[in-house]
Assembly symmetry: D3
Homo-oligomer: 214 residues x 6
């Protein structure tokens, strides 16, 4: 997934079995992990010792939640989908790029599982994509890059379904708090941006894969 | 901080010095930690090994962000405020209870620092409080307890300033995604609920402390 | 459990099953964990990274040993009792307060298990309570608070049964070593103090619980 | 240090500097670590992952406390003595063997430091040694080996100075609790045993070292 | 670096300062880290908890040693070069691909540092490249892919300088041990293969970089 | 195992069962761990926190690989041999001393298992031993001690079978790279040295053990 200078590798691996706490429920599971290569940022970022850093933990929880909302666990059955989102280059919006790319990886993995008979149909409930928005100099803007992001007053991440509904809204004022009008402006922009991303996703899902891996 | 059956101990400790990456900036810092006693939940929750569990990490990042928005770091100077929010009993809404209580602890600690001359005036920019809302059976509701929370379609946490603006919005659909109208309903309820909490906070800040600790 | 300014929350949770190394023995198990809230001490104590600090490890091993001596594991059967002792405020004697309080929590949990038929009778062999003693300025004293403790030459922790016998003696000279007479004095004082604690425990075990939790 | 089948390597290394919390106090420090080789026990003991296991933590805290009581920190000055006690073969009484051997290592290291002028005189306040005792079949016994230890009702570890005073008493009833008479019997036996150990220590301190290492 | 299906991202970051143990020596340092993305292997490889797995540790130590042999630390001065080798796809020979690619990244980073004046000339002593060889069905072969590797009797990794000398030889018989003749055959093949890699490296070092990062 | 001043305790423990990934294969497993006592080196070496340090990880991987090559896993059956190599004193060549000593421990453990009927015959394929070599002042030398090692240009570790074939070659130029002639010289010396070690091993395997432990 490339958006601006940001590049994230998203992969989905489907493994038999579910976590222990979900055993014998008949329901599947989706889990996500997020990482950054040390050289993905301006100054080298050390590898996390023993676990993702706390920012990474927060991000991978959001990715997992959003992608789980796209899945019917009863149809997935006794399987776990592992989503891995690894940032090769970071220039703002890595978490929303990861969500959008992870949906493509997940869809292709599921499609491939359906075509070779390992999975049943109807697992994917519908598409989800995500985008970031913010308030810069009092005005709502979409998909901030790193330099815009640093000066923004609000950093908002929005995930929506292909049906135009919200799956996740997560917004923080890093400077001035924001009011309802600014919130509406950001959500309006995001809604348009996500519509474009959903189109790009559809094309990417259908594209032939270089080496047959999904 | 008690809200429903939920009880959270919130404390603020002010220590000289700031984290290394902030040295020589002249700016202070606020950091938050969140924990749950093992017996705070229905079935015993193991102590985290080596770090808060990932849910705790996400929550303490939110608490820290919201409370930082209430502080003028230039006035705080070369000091760090440590906020500790430990859940004694959990019955829904622990993260918003923690934010609301942490603001009281922070204010009292700052007031006490001002009165004994260690801190300058004007550190606290204004009050913040937080509340949870959700959609249960299609209708927006405020401050869900654990049993309501389990059946809610949306779990939303909102933090607002005494000026009525948003500091943090974090909402997730755990079942059905939600639309703009439902979002408005939840934000409207939250706005009213937070106004009440701000009143309670003001009283708590003024109250005498049992043993002079803040 | 409150003694002086020291306050410790003690809880007991009974869970089906025993640790792996005890499987198929027909015997139950009791295990204890000890923690301190960051704000429980004069200057903030950092949360332990990845495990209790070494002082906490030593203390929770002692708590576990003493409470295990009060239990008939053959009667407990295939169950584990988890004792959690979390210090809200520390002013000396937290480990002995934890032992004394943990016995109350354990008894109430067992009684509740007996009355709803999950547990058999006769699990609790007899009461245990603990108290600290020391030598200050050459004289034996009971239940030192933090400021006395800091200047004591000896720090001794004694746990005894309701039958007046010793379960654990752990004493360290932190300044001058002590002789047999001083040891006798400390054990004599402790014996009297523990008799009072055993009375308090009996009352606490019978008291109605606020919300039916033990 | 060999006692029965138990063999423990005890070494003392003196390094310039003290831990951070003790800086600029003019006082030295003594710290101890305790380990067991995997093959030291009947069935192989896994290497601890990331830290000594909790039993080891408790033991090394006791070793450190006892040896610190033998040292005048003002004379030691800005130096730290690291004591390492590693069990090659375990057959009961490893912690008391470790204390007794660590005192020899410490004395020789200090003597060697005094003779080459790195350390001042008068650092060692006096000798300390330790021994274990217990109650087997109702009778007090000294220095239990592993098979006696397993059936003992009480496991007691006593450390005493060359002046015949107590430095540490740590006793636990693992079966029947014990009364004052039994305690006196154990302390009496320990007192005699420690006198013999103090003689052995004196000889070991004077012995020439194979390769000049202490 | 791509060789066969194996793809490794190699980056070099030059940071001011050296590790503590090398301070005030006037000499620089080179360190390497090696990782695999979870989806780089046939079946998903879990992220290492807290550190590279032991295979990764061994590999990154070899990468570091080999690349250090290419550097004149006195010319590098008070700087550390961090090499990061992250495997995107693994199909045999990842460690030798990492060495070969890391040399390119290192050279480009040094050249860029020289041209903007941060570094002095003469830091790179000469080129190094590495290749794997093995014995399959009794015959020496070069650059085994994963399926060949699995059936090989010997797995050998050879790093050589542009002057045709050895920097590292690391060979293991995983089935039949090997004799001197087989060793000569493998080293002969490796020598030829490395000559080709050195040519490819030279071209890659001169190539324009997409976004000016090295 | 003593060679020069280097002393390593090597033990082998045979336990029923194999690691999970090897279950139901009918094949046994051999695994090695390597540690250094803190006082084994000139200046005290801290205990590794949570795992062997990276040098130790590399060494124990080599020990395990070499010893595995000596074993027929089909004959070993559903058993795991744990090799523990702990360095008491280090003066160069600890890893090759560990390999040579581990083979003795392994052989004795297997012989003892055969004689009491727990193991079948034919498990040990043949002897392996290891030695280090290097280039000092341009000349190949055998079994460098610590002071020679520090000035060597090449550090090479060679493991060979009693049949005179190579099992592991691991050589690194720490200063000048080396050419084929120097490699031949080192391998020639190693071959002679290993022949002597194989004789010593045979004697050690037959020797009576002090306390019947192997």
């Amino acid at each position: 997934m490339e958006i601006g200078q940001t590049r994230v590798i998203c992969t989905a691996c489907i493994a038999a079995g579910v976590p222990r706490w979900r055993k014998d429920s008949g329901l599947g599971w989706v889990t996500a992990e997020y990482g950054m290569l040390p050289a993905s940022t301006g100054s080298r970022k050390s590898r996390p010792i023993g676990r993702p850093d706390s920012r990474g933990v927060e991000i991978q929880r959001i990715i997992g939640r959003v992608l789980r909302s796209a899945i019917r666990f009863d149809k997935l059955g006794d399987n776990t989908i592992h989503l891995d989102c690894d940032v090769l280059e970071a220039d703002g919006g890595t978490r929303t790029a990861a969500i959008t790319g992870a949906y493509v990886a997940l869809s292709r993995a599921v499609n491939s599982g359906v075509s070779d008979g390992r999975l049943s149909r109807g697992i994917v409930r519908g598409a989800v994509a995500a985008i970031s928005a913010g308030i810069v100099d009092g005005r709502a803007m979409l998909a901030l890059d790193y330099s815009e992001d640093s000066t923004a007053d609000v950093d908002m991440n929005i995930a929506m379904t292909s049906g135009g509904k919200f799956v996740e809204i997560q917004g923080t004022s890093e400077g001035q708090p924001f009011d309802s009008d600014q919130l509406s402006d950001m959500l309006g922009l995001a809604s348009k941006g996500i519509r474009k991303l959903l189109t790009v996703q559809r094309q990417a899902i259908l594209k032939k894969v270089r080496k047959g891996r999904s």
